[in-house]
Amino acid sequence: MSKNKTSDKESAEEAYAYTPGLKVKRVISVLKTRLLPIPGEILVEKGAKVDFDTIVARANIPGKPTIIKASEVLGIAPESLPVFMVKKIGDTMEKDEIIAKYTPFFGLIKKFVKSPAQGVLEAISDITGQVVVREPPTPVEVKAYIPGTVVEVLPKRGVVIETYSAFIQGIFGIGGERHGVLSIVAKSTSEELTPERMSLEHKGKILVGGSLITIEAFRRAVELGVSGIIVGGVRGVDLTSILGYEIGVAITGQEDINITLIATEGFGKMNMSIRTFDLLKEFEGREVALNGATQIRAGVIRPEIIIPNEKRISESKKELARGMRPGTPVRIIREPYFGKIGTVVSLPVQLEKVETESFVRVLEVKLEEGNVTVPRANVEIIEE
């Protein structure tokens, strides 16, 4: 369990962008905050070098409590329960050990309350006649997830790890954190990922497809033990078949599957953006980390691909995005120009009427086929 948080130094500057685009960066500093779900022990120091699987923090989650209606079992009034307790609050016990006993009629009748599990007696209530046994804590460990340097230790909470890497955000994913060697299996951004493209050599690897993964290809990947798949699109109906249930609200990452799937563009057959594809191609054969976790609501989390790349950029202060302006490269993210890439020509202040007859804030975008007008809400900035 850990909370991931990617921050590069641009985030504050992007505050005025109407729609922040998905990041596709060749080299950035990625900071990952690796948090324990509850306070615990930090196992690394500031400055330490860590690898994908280095355990950086550990904690004990309080064990499950079990409530036993002890007075009912003994057949006594709740207020009498303390008298018949064998164990005291704080006592440890094994499973089936006697917690309370009642032996009326000179021992002719014997009634016992046994512990349902190994644990500690936490509470005795003389109002309800209940006792609470808490099971031993469950240890949880947090891994580094990315190789890099510990730049901050958050006492008892976690650490912040920094790495220089290529960084790509997808739009939607399933499956949690994994790492593996990147292997490009599609020849082009428009090619579909089919079972024939996969073989035994792909076991444990992260495969990159083009426009769509078919359900057959996904099943084949699972059979082969592929670790992850990065592809342009996936059909909604196939997603339901893969998971065995329908996703209602986009909060993912905890699925019970041994593979992580990241769609970079959306649902349906959608060519992977050339920029994303080329970047992935450049790093073929490298060990990458990826996480399908997606949360659209309340603390947006997008799936991510992190390709550690030690070559640091000199902090070249490129002019950073401060919202859209003429010349800003954008991608249209809704019909009728879904997926098209262009540059902003103008941003009229006045509302304009679109086909639906709604008056909305629009922008003019220059596409290959000419200039088009689209609602401002329907584009995202392509971050250079």
């Binding site: 109002i127 609200v249 986009a250 959306g266 609501r297 639906t356």
Partner: protein, 615 residues
Amino acid sequence: MIWERDEKAILRLHKPEEEMQYILVTDVGSTTTKARLFHKINGEWRYALSGEAPTTVEAPYENVIMGVQNAIREIEELIGLKFLSEEGRIIKPHAKGRGVDFYCSTSSAGGGLQMMVAGVIKTMTVESANRAALGAGAIVEDAIAVDDDRPDYQKIDRIRQLRPDMILLAGGTDGGTTTLVMQIAELISAADPKARLGADYKLPLVYAGNRDVRPQIQKLMQDRFALEIVDNLRPVLEIENTEPARMAIHELFMEHVMSHAPGYPELMNWTDLDILPTPAGEGMAMQLIAYAEKKNVIGVGLGGATTNVYSVFDGKFVRSVSANLGMSYSICNVMKEAGVGNILRWLPFEISEDDLIDILRNKMIRPTTIPQTLDSLLVEQAVAREALRLGLKHHKTIATRLKGAKKVHRMIGEMLEYMLEETYIDMMKISIIGGTGGLLSHAPRRVQSLLILTDAFQPEGVTKVYQDSEFMMPHLGVLSKAFPDIAWNIFDKDCLVRLGTVIAPKGTANPGESAVKVRMEMPDGTIFEKDVEFGEIIRVPLAEKTRAKAVISPRHDLDVGAGPGKTLETTVEGGVVGVVIDTRGRPLALPEDGEERRKKLVKWFDSLELYPRNS
């Protein structure tokens, strides 16, 4: 009480009310922050302008203030006045063409107020606790009862899994069961739930149960929770008293929850009035409609993440929230709950289920996009019908009578079984339907919202339909706490759009058969008279704020409110749409065959001039 000045809620006034010129109100929604500017013109307060910007409660911004500033900047750009200082703070009071005189806000960002409620009997104290939490504007994540059929370990697992913002614990009448109340309290205490917005503060818990166990509750709970004890919400079986719990929830919401959300401590500093949960503001506005017209009302706020349904029926106000029915974040949950086929049935063009699924999933992952093509608009409006239909269905499970003490058998611990009674919501007795939310307010033609609400709620008899003009019901609800007269004037003149009146006979007949004869004396003295066949929907223009005397005679087995086959003489009110005579049947059944259904939809849509015709 609604629409009365609440002196305690006002944090500061910058100048006397009569000298004020500009009031700014924001609603920080889950998707969009909506700023509304109100301005005094010739001594009268009116709505002036809107500005909207994406809400910035989430990463990478994690500061709600930015969205608020962006929305205000949009207004600045349109009006050409300055409301924000160089440092980005709201300038107050208004002077020399800069600044506003008063600022307040509602909020539902970051998931709104999420609560867990608990009590003893599912159909009694837990149901009342549920209504109290919902009435306070919360989303109820789960309702735990002693008798809810889940074994204790499952309840404990569930409580540990939930990360609520607050807990409402009820149970027992005053002088009633103590053991069962303590049982559920001990269960919560053992589960030791953690707050959603951080592990380092105490989770607020409101106790509104049997007063006899207050000392024991205090002893058990005060170390683990920020405990607030209020009057029992079910002091006796026959009375439900949710007000003290609701007030405590609002106080704790500000004190504990809001202050931990990103950027809110600063926003709380900016506002001159306590921040209210959006649904609480919206609910106040819906109650006002019922209060002003003395009629039964069903209201709905169709949002991006949630659908809130409000009813005021025979004076009783009830709110329900369907936390995962919405038009953006939750659009796929509507699909999941309704079934893709039920969405598809409202579309007048052919599309495969698989393609429709992809369209909806793409909206889910890019929730802030808006329809540009007519087909996209039709898809979203089809989803809206289903979200509203499911929202009302859910509401009916909350708007139920207080369960009486019909004792079936008695067991140890006073475990009782109660008869479930059905909802008291009767569409024939609902006189007004009110709608708000982005999709309804932004519908390019008002008749679209009228038909969406009609298709979803299926009003029976004679029903007026209202909507929010620019989505400002929450804004006016919160503003009314400080300036009820100002809020009411704007509400009446600028917010409430009277769409018209729907006349819909209850029952079914065969297509082509005469369904209802309608005769109306129009304001200009002319007479409208028509025998409408079954299966039709027609529109009769009747301007807003005008009325017509109507004589409505249904066929023998149809009912318009006076009983089957009985003539109803009434007055119908006009609106921007007019009077809509809907003889499509109640319940409304669409043809099973796809082609036939699409033809019928096109016919109905054309009859009402719902969409531009050339497409």
